[in-house]
Symmetry: C2
Subunit: 302 residues, 2 copies
């Protein structure tokens, strides 16, 4: 039986335009990418909210990946819908609209079962809500947390309270610099360690990811892709795969486990990037995954 | 006895301002960094020109590293002097002045001995001059070549003629995109392979380096530094170490050798970054180098 992992965050629709075309009202949201990716390693349950417009077709990828949807609240109204476009380099997403809809009043409430969960992935949501989740979980073994520039700018003090209580913090380069005011990523990571987090994971986009911890620092390359279809959800996939993998381990709190988790995050994110939405990510066979891990580890042998 | 390597390029003075301070008229130039780095693996001789203001003190780092300076022409006038400044992130160097001086009329002339050299590193100079060197060398085993955006913009056709004749091409991300008109680095690399080069090495600055070749692709992380003192010469160090290492091998034309050369380039460049000029690079002990290689390979074990 797989170990459990709780994923709290957004389940949404995305409308995306990029150099490869357009995707209208496709399944998105940080909790979707994270839970689907985590499902390859652990048993995810989610806490999220959708509107009455969220159909069984929209649920299909979760059902396929056997994700526990009992915590997916259905509220009268429309599902969160984000619209954005990317330039050809995928470096910057320009938001065209953010219709929060039912997500506006999202208050995560954990079931009794979820309160006993051993691993928690707090996807990118308001740090106040992240704190409220941490109050509800009894004795978590692993707590991982993602965030974004919006919360760093608007709720830094609350975010720092969250960081104090988490084992693993995910953020990208820009966010690490914005939150710490420090340019060098190792120095920025060390500042965050001083705030109470154990492992700082800096997501480097097409350059992989970096770890800063008291046990060691490391930078691991990406799984290289010649064709990038859409980068939406890559970071959430990374966090979900990373944390799901750790959830599956007896002993997670060591450098080897963390570096393997980084590799898994890097490699799993490469699948997300190969399609719009979770199309590629939700349909992977063990063979697909195994092949890519072999290619990745072969790349690092010399 | 070490295998020989010919390094052709600039020996210059640099005046640099950055967040860590200022360095006035210190030893610089692509051929300086490349030959000093190569000297840890092979026996470099250089072809370059300096002015009568280039003293024995300026020669000291070369002498210390036992570099053959018989091809260092001394011409009446002043040595090439570049002045520039960096912002705190070291991403962009702003040129303040470029006094070419005696370098303006540099025409590389190889001695009879140098014409028989087995490994050639063409540092970043006018592609016309790179072609003239290639005409002079008889039967090189390995030819590696660096370039820069200035030559890509002004002498693209000549540069493509050079590329056709080289085994290894070094360029950074921006240069790869500028030269090929292709954003994705693997696709850009493949375009360059189609022009006749065997191994395309894309230098990624603080993110390490990428290889594109018919034998395989790879991305290797950097040696991580918490403090960056000055990035001037890091790319030249990378190329010199990379090529010097290959020169030392019996069999260089395979994926393992090339990936090891990338590692050596990445790690040796980290030393250059720790001081102004070649101060740190020219004074390394075998222990310094060994320690850093161990840290690097340990980082990639998990």
């Amino acid at each position: 039986m797989k170990n459990d992992i709780l994923v709290v965050g957004s389940v949404a629709f995305d409308t995306i335009e990029n150099a490869n075309g357009c995707a209208k009202r496709v399944l998105g949201g940080a909790a979707s990418y994270a839970s689907i990716c985590a499902s390859y390693y652990a048993q995810p349950s989610i806490v999220a909210v959708v509107g009455t417009d969220f159909t069984s077709t929209d649920r299909a990828p979760f059902v396929k990946r056997k994700i526990d949807l009992r915590g997916l609240e259905v509220k009268k109204g429309k599902t969160f819908h984000w619209g954005g476009s990317y330039d050809k380099d995928f470096n910057t997403a320009v938001t065209k609209f953010t219709d929060l809809n039912v997500f506006k009043d999202f208050k995560p409430v954990l079931s009794k079962e979820q309160q006993k969960v051993k691993t928690v992935f707090l996807a990118n949501i308001d740090p106040e809500l992240q704190l409220s989740v941490l109050k509800q979980v009894k004795h978590p073994r692993i707590v991982a947390c993602d965030t974004m520039n919006f919360w760093i700018s608007s709720k830094k003090a609350t975010l720092l309270k969250v960081i104090k209580q988490v084992d693993i913090l995910f953020l990208n380069e820009t966010e690490a610099r914005l939150l710490t005011g420090i340019y060098n990523l190792v120095a920025a990571g060390k500042w965050l360690l001083s705030k109470g987090v154990k492992y700082v994971i800096i997501k480097l986009g097409s350059n992989g990811s970096m770890l800063v911890s008291k046990k060691g620092i490391a930078q691991l390359p990406p799984y290289i892709l010649e064709h990038v279809h859409d980068t939406t959800g890559a970071g959430d996939t990374f966090g979900g795969g990373f944390t799901g993998y750790l959830a599956s381990l007896k002993s997670w709190d060591n450098l080897t486990a963390i570096k393997r988790a980084m590799m898994i995050g890097n490699v799993m994110a490469s699948f997300t990037i190969e399609s719009f939405s979770v199309k590629r990510l939700a349909g992977l066979s063990p063979k697909d995954i195994k092949k890519r891990f072999k290619e990745y580890t072969d790349m690092l042998k010399f």
